[in-house]
Structures are given as structure tokens and as C-alpha cells.
Symmetry: C2
Subunit: 458 residues, 2 copies
């Protein structure tokens, strides 16, 4: 269907005609993400404002066999929001209402376009936070669709652990609710958990009931330098094994620390560095700090710096989250792109060594940052703009890192999702692919929901 016909058919489904756009600029904005995949324009962009509008649009798309690709804040990668077969880019950013903040049950009910930081601004004054932190100020619907996680996963888990219930629009345009407001349930199949992480390929999320966490009374950040990545990881394992429940437990390797320290003017000592955040009551945070200081000393940790001051802690985490920015500044004329494998923590030291070797083999610069408590590490790689050969080398490095992670009983993607990298899912779960494809076929028989993502057509 050509864009103008499509627009004419979509307009009556929406409160206002301006909610559908077929203009070049909007279509271009919804054509790409922060990956190296080629952009592809949608035929139309719909800015939905209500669940019933989403339902009407999906029902129409189902009847006409038009692809629908949900779009949130546009912070994801892997091609997940690229409408590779055209059709409708369903932008949910204007569904951004926080509908309920329930302090007694520690729940928030939000529309999918609410941004993570917006929810935290609302929840903070009542002593609560939504702790999942992927770095970017992503939309909560997008974070659920990706099963996002990040620096705080070591304590709080991923999105899947913090989505209590969903309202979704199924592939036939019907509205359904998963889960309840109760803290636990064994009633039937875990459809909430299935839709979380399904990247918009099984349903469109139109409302989320999210679990909030009490803000710890005391938070302490610790920075420690080690003589090797191995000793840093050994320390991380010991810290968790001691039952301290760190909020964050991050590792930057030696070359990365040097780059970040210089970019942010932090004057950090050189060498692999652990960033640890502890939190709880004043007494328990202090007790955890004692434990951590003793354990890192055992592993030869040096230059232990303890930050209790919120401003100093924020500066530290801004620098840690700013690895991408530091690399972008250092390598002008490059796109900075990332990998996202995860291995059992015992394999992390060897995997990180291998990653450095592989980056050198593929002649690519890289920063190396690890969520050390989880075994998830990212290579942050500058890829020269307009050089297909550099893109190919990055692809080769990515595939090699995934192969290495799978050989270590790990996963190809810890928190970014599969998107268009369907070959990685085949490599990781070949024996399970027919079951996954059967689920997709069962819930989206016409294949209109974000086609081409997660599972390649058979």
C-alpha cells in the first residue's frame, strides 16, 4: 500500500489526523537505530495515544497484512526498531502517562512511552526507585520488549524480574492482560515473561505494571585498582560469594580506564578497575564496606577510594556510563558500536583476555567494560564511517566474540536482544529454534509483528 493510501486508511483510526505521518523526516527518523544495519523507511509513522488506538491499528494491519514495528525512545540497537519490510512504525512515545504510583505495594502502572528517568523522578520523593539501569534514558515499554538490564542487574535482575503485569495488543488487534498485581502467581503459562524480551514480535505492549524498590538508606561507592583483570574478577566473585548484595559491580580494563579517566579528567590510577556500589541500612552498608575492603585487599587491590558523597558518586557513575562518549570523542569520524555477550563469571577472565586478542586480530580499537557480577561484557568499538571494510571487520569481531561466549556456555546477547542478528540465536539455540518459531507462528500467524527480528523466516 502506498504511503498516501496507507495514511488515509490509518487516519480514521486515530483521534487526530496529525498522529499519522508519511513525511520524509519522520520516516527517516524511524528508519534507523544505533547499529550498523542499513536503515529502512516505514511507509507510515503512527503516533498512538491510547491502547485502543494501538488495537485499531494492529487490527487494520492484520486485515491488510501490513508489518507493524513498535518504536519507543529509539535508544535500542541490533536493528530491533528498523522496519525492514516497511509498513507501519508504531511510535508509542506519546503514550507517556504514569497512571498509578502505589507506594504500599511498591508498584507503578505506566504507559509504554514513559521514560525510565521520568518514572524515577516521580518515585524518588516517596522513597522508591525503578532500579533497572541500561544507561540510556530508554522508554519502559522498549526496555521490557528488550528485557533490558545493566549495571544494577547484579542485585536487582533484569526487566523480566520487574514487570509484574502487562496490557498488550495481540497480533489480531485484541487487547489482553497478563499477570495480576499480586507478587507471585503460578496461574498458567508465564505470558508476561514471554512478552518481555520478545522485541515486539509477539504483541505490542500498551501498559506495564512495574515493581519498584525502596531506595537504600545508605549508598557507598568504591573504586579499586588491580594488577590484572583476573584478580579483579576473582575479587568480584568473592564479594558476591560473601553475600554482600552489591548494587553495582563493574569492571573496566586497563586501556579503558586510561581513556575514560583522561576524557572525564578523573585522574584515576592506571590498571583494571572495579567500581562497586553498596547499599542498605547505614549499618549494613558499612558492614558490607568492611567486607569488600578486606576482600579486595586479599586480591591485591590498590588505591581503594570510597565515595559516600552523592555528587562524587554521580560523577563516578557518569564517567563509567560515559565510555561510549569517551570513545566517540577519541575517534571522530567513527560510529561507536557495541557487543553484548555474557559468560559464566568463572569464564570472564579468560573471555576478556580472548576479547582483547580478537580486537587486535581484527585491527579494531576497543574499550572493554564488564558487568563483572554477571559475566556480561561489552566491547565498545569505533567503526570508521563510510568504510564497508571496517564494518565487515566489526562484524567478524562480533561473530568471533559470540562464538567464544557460546563455547564457554554463555549467551550471544545479555541485554541488547537479537534484533536482526538471527544467526546468533540459531548458533545459540539451534535445537530450540523450531519451538521458538512455533510460538511466534502461534501468536502472530500472519507474521505482521516486527517481521525479520529474533527469528528469520523459515
Amino acid at each position: 500500500m502506498d504511503p498516501l493510501t496507507l495514511s488515509a486508511k490509518l487516519s480514521p483510526l486515530l483521534a487526530e489526523p496529525a498522529q499519522v505521518s508519511v513525511g520524509d523526516s519522520e520516516r527517516d527518523l524511524h528508519a534507523e537505530d544505533s547499529s550498523l544495519f542499513a536503515p529502512h523507511r516505514p511507509d507510515a509513522v503512527v503516533f498512538a495515544r491510547s491502547s485502543s488506538e494501538v488495537a485499531a491499528v494492529v487490527a487494520f494491519a492484520a486485515a491488510e497484512h501490513i508489518p507493524v514495528t513498535p518504536y519507543g525512545a529509539g535508544t535500542s540497537n541490533g536493528g530491533k526498531t528498523i522496519p525492514v519490510r516497511g509498513g507501519i512504525s508504531l511510535d508509542l512515545s506519546r503514550m507517556a502517562e504514569i497512571r498509578l504510583l502505589d507506594t504500599e505495594n511498591r508498584l507503578a502502572v505506566v504507559q509504554p512511552g514513559v521514560l525510565r528517568e521520568t518514572l524515577n523522578q516521580r518515585a524518588g520523593p516517596v522513597g522508591l526507585s525503578f532500579p533497572i539501569d541500561p544507561g540510556a534514558n530508554a522508554s519502559l515499554g522498549g526496555m521490557a520488549a528488550t528485557n533490558a538490564s545493566g549495571t544494577t542487574t547484579v542485585r536487582y535482575g533484569s526487566m523480566r524480574h520487574h514487570v509484574r503485569a502487562l496490557e498488550v495488543v495481540l497480533a489480531d488487534g485484541s487487547l489482553a492482560r497478563t499477570g495480576t498485581r499480586a507478587a507471585k502467581s503460578s496461574a498458567g503459562y508465564d505470558m508476561t515473561g514471554l512478552f518481555v524480551g520478545s522485541e515486539g514480535t509477539l504483541a505490542v505492549i500498551t501498559e506495564l505494571t512495574l515493581v519498584l524498590q525502596p531506595i537504600p538508606e545508605a549508598v557507598i561507592a568504591v573504586r579499586v585498582t588491580f594488577s590484572s583483570v583476573d584478580l579483579a574478577v576473582r575479587s568480584a566473585v568473592a564479594i558476591i560469594g560473601a553475600g554482600t548484595l552489591p548494587i553495582r559491580l563493574e569492571l573496566l580494563d586497563g586501556p579503558t580506564i586510561a581513556i575514560v579517566s583522561e576524557h572525564f579528567g578523573m585522574a584515576w590510577p592506571p590498571g583494571p578497575t572495579l567500581f562497586i556500589e553498596l547499599g542498605g541500612s547505614v549499618a549494613s552498608a558499612s558492614s558490607d564496606l568492611e567486607t569488600v575492603v578486606a576482600l579486595v585487599a586479599d586480591a591485591g587491590g590498590r588505591h581503594v577510594a570510597v565515595e559516600r558523597d552523592p555528587t562524587a558518586r554521580q560523577a563516578l557513575w557518569r564517567a563509567r556510563h560515559g565510555v561510549g562518549a569517551a570513545m566517540a570523542a577519541r575517534y571522530p569520524g567513527h560510529n561507536v558500536r557495541g557487543t553484548d555477550v555474557c559468560v559464566p563469571v568463572s569464564e570472564l577472565p579468560a573471555a576478556l583476555r580472548r576479547a582483547r586478542d580478537l580486537a587486535a586480530e581484527f585491527r579494531l580499537e576497543a574499550a572493554v567494560i564488564a558487568h563483572a557480577g554477571d559475566g556480561n561484557y561489552h566491547l565498545v568499538v569505533p567503526v570508521a564511517l563510510g568504510q564497508p571494510e571496517a564494518v565487515a571487520r566489526f562484524g567478524g569481531l562480533h561473530r568471533a566474540l559470540v562464538g567464544d561466549a557460546l563455547a564457554r556456555a554463555g549467551t550471544s546477547t545479555a541485554e541488547h536482544g537479537i534484533g536482526l542478528m538471527t544467526g546468533f540465536l540459531e548458533a545459540e539455540h539451534g535445537d530450540l529454534l523450531s519451538a521458538q518459531r512455533a510460538v511466534k507462528q502461534a501468536l502472530d500467524p500472519a507474521g505482521i509483528l516486527n517481521p525479520g527480528k529474533i527469528i528469520a523466516p523459515s
Copy 2:
């Protein structure tokens, strides 16, 4: 297929002929559970000893359209293990090997027949535990199939949070693996989480990779009496809101405390009582204890008893877990049966008042125990043996409690599962039933895996 023919066809698939039984006693043992549903015999019982035997049996059953009902330790209820359409009861209790105890990654790889307590006996000496505690010494495969949880859920979550990966036999008899050993993944649909809680209706679990937890350095149990259930629940909410991470947070109402105290000779003061278990480092447990003592005092808690001694703590929890035994002893000639709804914690006081009223309305005695931190409560009800009228009254009470929980945005079953109570799932998730049925149809097209459970045939 008659039992003898079936036996003759199954024997060649197993290492030894004795692994298939068509004798009356084995068939009777696999015909019933601890619910009030009518027993139904399988045509044959297979005692599998390996994943490949399970695969061969399921492939055979698929070819012959014979129902397969997995069976673990036989501790479940709701009819989940009753082979209501005959066929094969697939007993996995002899697949009971602990294949790996990985202290560095805090993982255990076990066969499905391994019992919870057996794993803890192995993990304890290395400072680890598998914390999910449903009370019974259930098999870990059965606990995963039910998404079991229990007294420790308030801190550790349910089985779904502690199953890292699975090996399963799919409905066509093929073996597949879900998940990896990595701590987190966003690679494709969460098939691990889908199979967990699917009650053997989507696949047969043949191996589990489980997450273990460090055993806390210090554990403290606290018992507090309140003048009302409302104040006890308000205290529970405040304790969690303060960020103390209790391991257990249990409530017994006044009549129940009197019964249990008498049965176990505990001399507990009368009145609604909270049982709280705190754990962590010595310092953090002590700090949590201070917080708890202050909070329960604020809510009018009296007779605060603190137990640090392991033997005294065990006696306390034995009594708490012994509510069923106490009721059975008090009501000879009765079956003791339970309900399992869960409501948002803010609704728990009103739900518990309503539950007492409903029990009286249906002229049934009841003990009332609540996992107060989760909003999950059980009525433990003696039902007179051989009196269909009493069974009908229990059914009426159960339906009324489920109706009340759903009206409070809760769930019909928090940790027991749906089993044959398919009407409850319809009441709770009517708008999602077609999607759940599509998933079942996709993964078990012939409908041979535990038919009749979770979803009634359409």
C-alpha cells in the same frame, strides 16, 4: 492400548524391563495426589533413568497418541499428576543425580528427580543453599514444573527466578536445551521461563541448571504478636519498605496460632503472629533486627521473641510448616486440603477477614497462614472423608476465595498451580486464554503432554 501391550512396546525403549510397571499397586500410587480430585490410573508407569529414555518414551507416545503425565516426588496437588486420560505416568524419581556443583558460578546441575533437601545437603558444606522452600521435600523437576515457591519467596523469588537453564524433551520426543550458564540473556523468547510453571503440558524437564545462594553468615528469627491481623500486615509492609530483605515473613492468624501452639507445645501467646527471619552479615542482621523491633513496636507488636540459636529457630519453623499436621491431628477422619490465592499486600488484611467470614459461611474449620510479604495466603481446611457434601462445600469456599482474590487484582494460585482447576485460569485470564491455548497447541500439537491440565480442551 491395553496395559500389557503398552508394557511390551515400552520395555524395549528402557534399559531394563523392570522400569515399566503395569501392576495394580504402582498404577494406584500414580493415580492420585493430595487434592480432592478423583484418582485415575495410568495404563502403565515408566521409571525413566535417562534423558534419552524420556525422549524415546515421548517419541513413542507421540507416534501412538498416548498421553504422558510426568511424575516427580508426588507432593503436588490440584490434580497435576493425575493421568486423567490414562496413558503413561512418567516417573522421574530415579533420575536423581546431582551432576555438578559449581561453587564459583553458584550453580547446580541436577536431574529432575533430585529432592530439594538432597541438594541442600550437598550444597550446605560449601556454604551454598537452594533457597526455594515449599515446605514439602519435593523433587526439583516438579518444583520447576509448578513454579513452586513458599516461605522464602519474599527474599528469593520463585522457582522461575532460580532456574538458569533446562534440558527438556519436547512433545515430538526431541531433546532441546533452554538458557545457558550465563547469569542473564536477552537471546530470543524466554523458553526457560515458559517451561517453568507449565506443569508438564509443554515439555518434560530432564535436567535443570539451578542458581544457588550463599548461606547468610547470621540468621535471626523473630516472633511478634499483634492485636489484629491488620496491624500485623501493616508491620510486614513497613519491614519490607524499610529495605530489610527478610528471608521469611509469615503470618498466622489468632485461631491458627492457638491450634499450632497447642499441637507443638510451643506456649506461644495468643493473637495474630508474625514470624520473621532475617539474614546477612552479623552486622547487617543485627541492624535489620533493630529496624524490625522498632517497626513492630510502632504497630503495637507485643511479646517479641528473638531466636538466634539454630535449634530453636528450626523448632519455630517446624511448627510453622506443621500447620497441616496440626490440623490433621485435630480433625481425624478428615482430609486436610488447602487454597492458594494471592492478593496485593495492601489488600491482605481485608482478604483475610473475608476469608474467615467465607469459611464460616461454608461451615468449614480453617487454619489461616499467609506469606505476608507476598500477599499469598492459604486456608488449611479439614474436609470430612466420604462426605460429598463436605467436598462440595470446600469447592464452594475455594471458588469464593478465588473470586474474592480476583476482585482484589490478585491471582487464583500463587504457588500450587492450576492443574485440573482450569476454570480458575479462565476466570483470571479469560482475555489471554486464546493466546495460552495457541502456545499449547504450537508446542504440543497432538495434546499428549499432561492433557486436561492448565487449559481445558476447546
